[in-house]
């Protein structure tokens, strides 16, 4: 469980991109002489991932999350740095490495569009050298877990997005990969389908001890599955650590609404030296540091006659949104 299965050291990736100025002049110039520029998409990043970990990659669109996943699974070559996944250099695409990993992209599909998913499953089983009997067993087991046993014989084009995504997952997991790279796997799914997929991934991780690297813009995917997150901003890692610590760091205080029984108590509470966010007659909103909530509330309850109180958490989406906007975490 403690062994590092993914090691990344000073990894960088740059792309050469043609640029064109607007207008006719720009078009003619572009026709005769293409101007290209080198864009550093990933800049000197380093991290390690342990076997069985579920890691969430957070960042705005274009931050470089997907490029990192593509390099980790061997789809694209890194421009510089060291990279090792399960002891292999991913970009060499050795058969034993490829049999160990899978990549699921929410917006891409590998299932054959006009055939029922079962045909793609058997094809994948053959590609990964799984015999028919074993393939049948795995398809049965995974289809039960994903609750798509009834949809196996319906052409892919007739399936709903949620059913198709489950079928994609089954196709991608039939060879029992040890490392899963998931790029926005819940993209476009409804709330129930998202929840089912998250549950499935959690069970799969527990049962197989598979390592999961996940990118998602749905914060529930991250908070439900990941203990550790890596924040990426313009190709650099701005945070690598526990999700809880990150949330505490970004949102160190809580708002507490206190409803006093009398105006006298409300006045005394207002003048007690605590940080008042706002006051509306007997309703006072205090801002209290997370690590001082218990002691402060005990004191308030002992000193004042309180009718009711509410503790409100800053929504995770808002906190994470900060990461997407701000460079520093």
């Amino acid at each position: 469980m403690e062994q590092n299965i993914i090691k990344v050291e000073n990894l960088s990736k740059s792309f050469e991109i043609a640029s064109k100025k607007p207008g006719l002049k720009g078009t003619i110039k572009h026709f005769f002489r293409r101007e290209t520029q080198n864009i550093n998409v990933i800049k000197d990043i380093s991290f390690e991932i342990k076997r069985g970990e579920i890691i969430g990659f957070l960042g705005a669109n274009g931050a470089g999350k997907t490029t990192i996943l593509k390099m980790l699974c061997g789809l694209i070559y890194p421009s510089a740095g060291k990279l090792s996944v399960s002891g292999y250099l991913p970009y060499k695409r050795k058969v034993n490495f490829l049999k160990n990993i899978t990549l699921i992209m929410g917006q891409k599909q590998q299932l054959i569009w006009d055939l029922p998913p079962i045909e793609s499953f058997y094809l994948n089983a053959a590609i990964y050298d799984i015999d028919k009997f074993e393939a049948k067993r795995r398809i049965k087991r995974l289809s039960e877990m994903l609750e798509i046993d009834k949809e196996l014989y319906i052409p892919v084009r007739k399936l709903s997005l949620g059913q198709r995504m489950k079928a994609e997952l089954l196709a991608a997991l039939i060879h029992k990969p040890n490392i899963l790279f998931l790029d926005e796997p819940t993209l476009g799914l409804d709330i129930n389908a998202q929840r089912n997929l998250r549950k499935f991934l959690q069970i799969y991780n527990k049962e197989t001890e598979a390592t999961i690297c996940l990118t998602s813009h749905y914060m529930k995917d991250i908070t439900y599955l990941c203990r550790r997150v890596i924040c990426v901003h313009e190709g650099s890692i701005t945070y690598d650590g526990s999700l809880d610590k990150l949330l505490k760091k970004l949102s160190p205080v809580n708002d507490i609404l206190i409803i006093c029984r009398s105006d006298k108590d409300a006045n005394q509470l207002s003048n007690s030296g605590l940080m008042i966010k706002n006051r509306n007659k007997k309703e006072i909103t205090l801002t209290i540091k997370k690590n001082a909530i218990t002691s402060t509330l005990k004191e308030i309850l002992n000193k004042f006659d309180i009718e009711d109180l509410y503790i409100s958490e800053t929504p995770v989406d808002e906190i994470i949104g900060e990461i997407l906007i701000n460079k520093k975490v």
């Binding site: 970009y91 695409r93 006009d114 053959a126």
Partner: protein, 263 residues
């Protein structure tokens, strides 16, 4: 690179055949659209052009029917499919599977040929109905050799197009390069005229290119026309042995350039 075995190959063929059957009407139309050789036969016989090459009407009609068959079972379109898949990022999942994606395309082509087979037979029967004098049954040996040479012709075309398809890793429109090959393929392969009809000087050059071994050689073999079997097969094998390493090299270089656009 390959990691191909019988189980993978048969499963690929079975699945792709099921897939192709979904497009049977489209494939029937493709088969019908391949009747250029019959138009050419008409032009040749109506203008008595066959006299200039000492080929009887019957032998010429057999040649063009054979050309039709060879064409049906050697049509290649991998460059267009690959280009679309590469540009839309659809090859990404296939690139991280332990099987070169070109085997999928290869299986698609073979499956498509199986699907074409009944339609090609029907077209041939209609041809014989109108030209009963052209009916002939080749010996089993000649038939098998023709099948092998047709398959080798398919392999040559598949490799040429695969090499061009790999240029997608550098240029986004590799299919336009393929179009450059359309004219020499049309004129020098024997689809419009048997290569024997070209002037001697030109012929000696044509025979060192891969083109006459795509249609002319297998069609002459099947129709029973005079052809040098040994040099024909030898040239087919030489071209395959030249093209295959080129494909492997360009594939290895290209995948390093792959940026997984659109995914």
């Amino acid at each position: 690179m390959s990691n191909l075995n019988i189980n993978k190959l048969t499963t690929l063929l079975k699945v792709q055949y099921s897939n192709m059957l979904e497009y049977r009407v489209e494939i029937a139309l493709w088969a019908i659209s391949g009747i250029i050789p019959f138009f050419m036969l008409n032009i040749w016989t109506n203008n008595n052009l066959n006299e200039s090459i000492n080929l009887s009407n019957i032998m010429l009609s057999r040649y063009f029917l054979s050309a039709f068959f060879v064409r049906q079972f050697s049509v290649v379109w991998v460059v267009f499919t690959f280009e679309e898949d590469a540009l839309l990022g659809r090859i990404s999942p296939y690139l991280i599977q332990p099987l070169n994606p070109f085997f999928r395309y290869f299986a698609q082509h073979i499956a498509e040929q199986f699907t074409r087979f009944p339609f090609a037979i029907i077209i041939a029967l209609i041809f014989f109905l109108f030209n009963p004098e052209s009916l002939w049954i080749p010996s089993l040996g000649i038939f098998l050799l023709s099948c092998i040479s047709t398959f080798l012709s398919f392999l040559i075309q598949f490799l040429i197009q695969s090499i061009i398809a790999c240029l997608c890793f550098w240029t986004e429109k590799a299919s336009s390069i393929e179009r450059l090959l359309f004219i020499p393929t049309l004129f020098l392969s024997g689809l419009l005229a048997p290569v024997i009809s070209f002037p001697e000087k030109v012929k000696s050059w044509i025979y060192i290119t891969p083109f006459p071994y795509l249609i002319d050689f297998p069609a002459n073999l099947l129709s029973g026309n005079k052809t040098n079997m040994i040099s024909g097969f030898l040239m087919q094998l030489i071209w395959i042995s030249i093209l295959f390493p080129v494909f492997k090299r360009i594939w290895n270089l290209g995948t390093k350039k792959y940026t997984a656009m659109g995914s």
